[in-house]
């Protein structure tokens, strides 16, 4: 059986997108100075993080708000907070 890609899975979810208000900001200077393994690229279930031209980029709209990256990444590498009230992932099953 063909499994869905992560992108296809996320497309099944319901989100209230908070356009123009990213809730994740990556501080690439900290990533470069303190992180060799780029844990964000493999611990995130939603594949929010990718590397583009050597920089870590967060596609925050698909975030499932689990917070795993905030534990796995070096302190200060991410400015991560929950989306504003009412926005973000809306679980219909949970």
């Amino acid at each position: 059986m063909n499994r869905l890609s992560v992108t296809e899975r996320l497309a099944l979810n319901k989100y209230e997108l908070d356009d123009g208000h990213p809730h994740i900001i990556v501080n690439n200077e900290v990533c470069e100075a303190e992180c060799k393994i780029r844990a964000c690229l493999f611990v995130c279930p939603a594949n929010v993080y990718s590397q583009q031209n050597g920089k870590i980029v967060a596609d925050w709209a698909g975030c499932l708000e689990c917070g795993t990256c905030t534990v796995a990444c070096p302190p200060e590498a991410l400015h991560w907070e929950y989306p504003r009230g009412g926005f973000g992932i809306l679980y219909r099953y949970g």
Partner: protein, 431 residues
């Protein structure tokens, strides 16, 4: 101090937050229940088995009204190798007796209902508001702030989940180390009711809960779960973060391979994925419990790290409810005495100590360490599978006695007698 000060502000409408708000409102306290999602449950996710007898104490026969999915009558542990599966499957009609031992739930529906019960009891539900910070007066917590809004109360109850930024802000807890948590990842897969009942041999509202060990996580510490709902299956993995980071494997790919395992694939065949979610799972048990109270504040539920995983089952919601009961008792007492100091709120810790919550956390205090044993995830499932294959395989060559089959499977998988004795001993001690 503002005139419209509340008695209590509860932050987070999960099972812990809704329950404590309900109990406090029942006692006549003025309680605000603040939730960042548009309704209680919209941000919440669990594997989905609720050991609900503790909730029955608060809301008698809750299953008659609450959106529960199925009554868990089948509890199984399944070992997976890359291709094989061995299940130990326990089924008893006694689990159909009320009050039910366990039910499956979907949190978005269940927590919404629980929030409504809190509201009916008189709690003021304030959804769609993210609490951004605590308000202090010297070292005492006196309220919360969200945007331009400030709210004041005698006590703030942090029920804000596994990440509990409030407990961290208050200084009750340090930044979470990766050794203390796992990443939970889950799909809800819709299947017609009769397909679920045929596939899992269920009658009526009976349900199954599988805990899955071994190749599920490709040898990384952790495990899988599969729970039946009325018209869907909850399937997922819980993977220890420190081990994942060390192995540098992509969590979404581990999940894909898990779903493609022949045993899993046959159980979810024909299903339609309807939701994909993730959640941080506190896993360090006793070791990670923060300071639970301070002047004007207590911490409950996942925010306090109250979960247990012993390989046979994973529990969190019932412990959350247990902590809500203990916190409610302490806060009511504090309210009567008009004393919201740490000394007064220490009653919460004492009540928690006296309850099943801390008793069970102590009973399974060694479980987190035991569950980090790599042999559990790779070699033992392999040994069990090889032993069963040889028991059943008839290939016209002479059969070996069972003791010989076991001995050779153990040797082939590089397990020493010392490992076996040690693991058996530690398992006996931890579980």
């Amino acid at each position: 101090m503002s005139d419209d000060k509340l008695d209590v502000i509860v932050v987070g409408a999960g099972v812990a937050g809704c329950t404590v708000a309900l109990l406090l409102a029942q006692q006549g306290l003025e309680v605000a229940l603040i939730e960042r999602g548009p309704f209680p449950g919209s941000k919440n996710l669990s594997g989905g088995v609720l050991y609900g007898q503790v909730l029955h104490q608060i809301i008698p026969n809750f299953w008659e009204k609450a959106p529960v999915e199925r009554v868990i009558t089948n509890q199984a542990v399944t070992f997976l190798t890359e291709t094989d599966s061995v299940s130990l499957d326990f089924k008893t009609p006694s689990f159909l007796q009320k009050p039910y031992n366990a039910v499956s739930v979907l949190r978005s529906k269940f927590d919404r209902w629980l929030g409504e019960q809190a509201e009916k009891a008189g709690a003021i539900l304030i959804p769609g508001i993210k609490v951004e910070r605590l308000i202090r007066e010297e070292n005492r917590i006196i309220g919360i702030a969200a945007g331009q809004e400030e709210m004041f109360a005698d006590v703030v109850i942090a029920a804000d989940g596994a990440n509990s930024f409030l407990a961290q802000e208050a200084g009750l807890r340090q930044r979470i180390p990766e050794e203390h948590v796992a990443v939970g990842i889950k799909e809800v897969i819709a299947l017609p009711q009769e397909v679920i009942e045929n596939r899992f041999r269920l009658e009526g509202n009976e349900g199954s809960a599988f805990n899955i060990v071994g190749s599920a996580t490709q040898g990384i510490a952790g495990g899988g779960f599969l729970y039946t709902n009325q018209e869907s299956i909850s399937i997922g993995l819980v993977i220890q973060l420190a081990d994942l980071v060390q192995r540098q494997k992509k969590v979404s790919e581990i999940f894909d391979q898990f779903l493609n395992h022949p045993w899993i694939a046959s159980l979810i065949k024909g299903g339609k994925v309807v939701e994909y979610g993730a959640h941080l799972v506190p896993e360090a048990g006793l070791k990670m419990i923060p300071r639970l109270f301070m002047d004007g504040m207590v911490v409950i539920g996942d925010a306090a790290g109250l979960t247990i995983n012993n390989g046979f089952w994973v529990r969190g919601m019932d412990l959350a409810i247990g902590s809500a009961i203990a916190a409610a008792e302490a806060v009511v007492k504090a309210h009567q005495n008009r004393d919201f100091s740490a000394e007064s709120l220490a009653l919460y810790r004492q009540k928690l100590e006296e309850s099943f919550v801390m008793a069970d956390l102590r009973t399974y205090a060694h479980a987190p360490h035991f569950m980090q044993n790599a042999r559990l995830y790779k070699r033992y499932p392999q040994v069990v599978s090889e032993v069963f294959r040889q028991i059943y395989q008839q290939d016209a060559s002479p059969h070996q006695p069972l003791r010989q089959i076991v001995r050779e499977a153990v040797r082939r998988n590089n397990l020493s007698l010392l490992d076996l004795v040690k693991d058996f001993w530690n398992g006996g001690r931890a579980l």
